[in-house]
Symmetry: C2
């Protein structure tokens, strides 16, 4: 889909596949872990082996950040994709060094904003898969989309 | 609170204040934006001024990552804080360069895992504040905590 999307362009059931995939490296896992989730299983292969994860694993918040990038790249909202909250997020499998993540997103709700008459709220469910087609994360998020034609009220 | 916490140590109403605060810089906002949320208002002051945010603003996913670090530093779970999902997350005010973020977390639920008898699930609500004591983000997350004493069943 080309061009910038306004609220009127979104509809329930609409699907967006990620236009790129993201390869996750051990370096990225450790860098993100050191900055934002400094726990042994996100920092060191050896420590990861003795942990719940049985090896080095990405912080779930790194996976969530990668998912945001894949979503931004695949859904071009006029004025930008402005988050209006997360309804649910689940990490269903660890993300490991070398994993390649891609995303499928479906619109599950559209409604006008109660507080900003010039915006609507799009609710979208994203599922992130690894290279083995296994779901590693899902989330349901709301984002704003500007209304193209304001109705007289 | 010192020592590593097991499932039995958690109770509804228990509170944890962040042991440190986090100062957010323009450099960090732009670096995170370039990597994970490449939109003009997260990358450039001038572009931010013409946007919904009226200035450079942190990606909500950067704020969420900072919140994770503050939570990990303030709640020391035996074996590490392993996320079991997010129930809700809201970004209530933009986070700007120079903002100083601190966190208050309250336990709102404790239950044994249905699938792993050696773990319990702690549900915690965190509120992130800036230096003006304004709420910038809240989220409700689940994390695993190992059971210290397994009951005979």
């Amino acid at each position: 889909m080309s061009g910038k999307l306004y609220f009127e362009d979104f509809y329930i059931g609409q699907r967006f596949d990620s236009v790129t995939s993201a390869k996750v490296t051990a370096v990225e896992i450790k860098e993100f872990g050191q900055k934002y989730d400094p726990q042994p299983f996100h920092l060191d292969e050896g420590a990861g082996e003795g942990s719940f994860f049985g090896g080095l694993a990405a912080s779930g918040w790194l996976t969530a950040a990668i998912v945001m990038r894949l979503r931004v790249q695949s859904i071009s909202v006029a004025g930008g994709m402005i988050g209006a909250g997360v309804e649910e997020m689940r990490w269903t499998l660890p993300v490991r060094p070398g994993d390649v993540i891609r995303l499928k997103t479906e619109v599950v709700g559209v409604r006008r904003s109660q507080t900003r008459i010039d915006y609507g709220i799009v609710c979208a469910r994203s599922i992130a898969y690894n290279q083995c087609h296994e779901m590693v994360m899902r989330n349901t998020v709301n984002f704003l989309a500007p209304v193209l034609r304001l109705d007289p009220r």
